[in-house]
């Protein structure tokens, strides 16, 4: 018997209408279908511009898809369609159920790392005290030293910011974790730490959709690879039959 999916993306379409350029329409992706179970890690592969990041942002609803459905399991056997929720409902679901880690820390001005990560934990429903403890543990896991915890995150290095971001996205394991090149600025040691962290989350049942720019990360972490080409899902591969051209490293 097939397990109930955590995520079921159906016939998802996204385009942008650029009003400043005589209303030109740019298709980000079209007719995307895939499902994802708990503990499964799906990597998105394809050339830069294939629509990978747009797809992640549309699942998270930072982008508003034109049509289609994004079913997300939020309790055993119960689902919501991210595309038909109200804004307030999307905000609630994001905080509780989805971790989104982008390449760049959208660092809020004048906030320290501990505060950023603790905030994320509170959104997942933890009390103030538990959130701070969880945040401290999460920062330790990604190797951010204590002396940096109260420094404004905006002045940290690129790699440190990325690790703060990862800590915030994973502080309390979300049901669904969306990773958009979360390792791109990390040195080998921290990269190794992050890889281990992501693998352990999958092991604990977190469903992951990821974009990595290197083949090695995909091959170590992903159970399946979806290949995008010009906004279309063109193939599903197993990680070991993937070749370099299909990762965004080809940029």
């Amino acid at each position: 018997m097939r397990r109930e999916p955590v995520l079921d993306v159906r016939r998802l379409n996204k385009s942008f209408v650029l009003h400043a350029v005589s209303d030109r329409t740019v298709v980000a992706f079209a007719d995307i279908n895939f499902t994802l179970s708990a503990g499964e890690h799906v990597a998105l592969a394809g050339m830069s511009g294939a629509g990978k990041s747009s797809l992640l942002k549309s699942i998270y609803r930072t982008y508003r898809p034109d049509s289609g459905e994004v079913w997300l399991q939020i309790h055993a056997g119960e689902y919501v369609d991210m595309c038909s929720l109200t804004d307030a409902e999307v905000a609630a679901i994001r905080g509780h159920e989805i971790g989104y880690v982008s390449q760049f820390l959208r660092s809020e001005p004048r906030r320290g790392a501990l505060e950023i990560v603790a905030r994320s934990a509170r959104q997942r429903g933890m009390t103030d005290h538990d959130a701070r403890e969880a945040a401290a543990a999460a920062l330790h896991r990604v190797g951010i030293e204590e002396r940096l915890w109260d420094v404004y995150a905006s002045v940290l290095s690129g790699g440190e910011k990325q690790r703060v971001n990862l800590a915030a996205g994973t502080v309390h394991p979300p049901r669904l974790l969306l990773l958009d090149e979360p390792l791109s600025a990390l040195d080998p040691e921290n990269r190794e730490r992050a890889l281990t962290l992501i693998a352990s989350l999958t092991h604990r049942g977190v469903a992951v959709v990821s974009i990595f720019h290197d083949l090695e990360a995909i091959q170590r972490l992903a159970s399946r690879v979806l290949v995008l080409e010009k906004g279309r899902l063109v193939a599903e591969r197993s990680p070991d039959e993937l070749d370099e051209r299909l990762t965004s490293a080809a940029r």
Binding site: R64, W71, I74, Y79, A88
Partner: protein, 294 residues
Amino acid sequence: MTNDVEYGRYPVARLAVPEWMLKVERLGRVYGPYDDTVIASTGPEIGSSKSAVNGAVVAAWDVSFEVAAGEALGLVGESGSGKTTVLRCLAGDVAPSCGEARLRTTEGDVSMFDLDSSARRRLRIDTLAVVYQDPAEGLKMNISAGGNIAEPLTAAGWRNFGKIRDRASELLTRTEVPINRMDDLVRSFSGGMKQRVQIAKALANSPSVVLFDEPTTGLDASVAAGVLDLIRSLLEEHRIAAIVVSHDFSVIEMLTSRCLVMQHGRVVENALTDQLLEDPHHPYTQRLVAAARA
């Protein structure tokens, strides 16, 4: 809990979303006589809020939204878009031409626009506070900081002088105004400090709704940053329903989770704040975001 209707293949979860604290429906404010023809002769498609039919100005029309406790809603737009008109109607400074605004209070829902003027003043004292762009609107310049804060407290029935002073110094401490300035005239304060006193006064009776009208516009960047940080942490500490009017996307991004975009008196787009910034749909929103990102 599951809906009766199965949607697609999956049982649909019913979500617990915080209930509204303030609900505005079809709010409008028109300067001059108007009918359907006059209204139809204004708006974003026409490119003006002033009617070519009779010269009436439709400053705001058909504005609807809800704000929940612990949530901050942004009203964005250029000057003249109608955002401040909406705020002033809610504050009671301007009479709306039509529409409804309901406020949830401990004594039940109140239809704000139906209240008489004394009930309306009462509401401003203990339930709905406003922080204006110009501190001179929210404060009396020739009274001390402590005296300004004492005003809403005494209006709410505080009589004990010592307790009023304690509350005032608590509020000034929280808003980072040096306590030794408590008895100085507000007139002698710097712009940022005045704004902090105004915020302290707004919070005096722990209101459930606070309206912020361009709270940092006109302040030096570093001073504005301090005031913004203060507002942000106050919104996190107290479960306030807030409305933030601003033309500045960095303020909106920092303080709000949802926004309405207004142009020529109409709401042209509403969305989560990150959606407006990353995937704006309306031509006007796209222009605003492009300008802010430049």
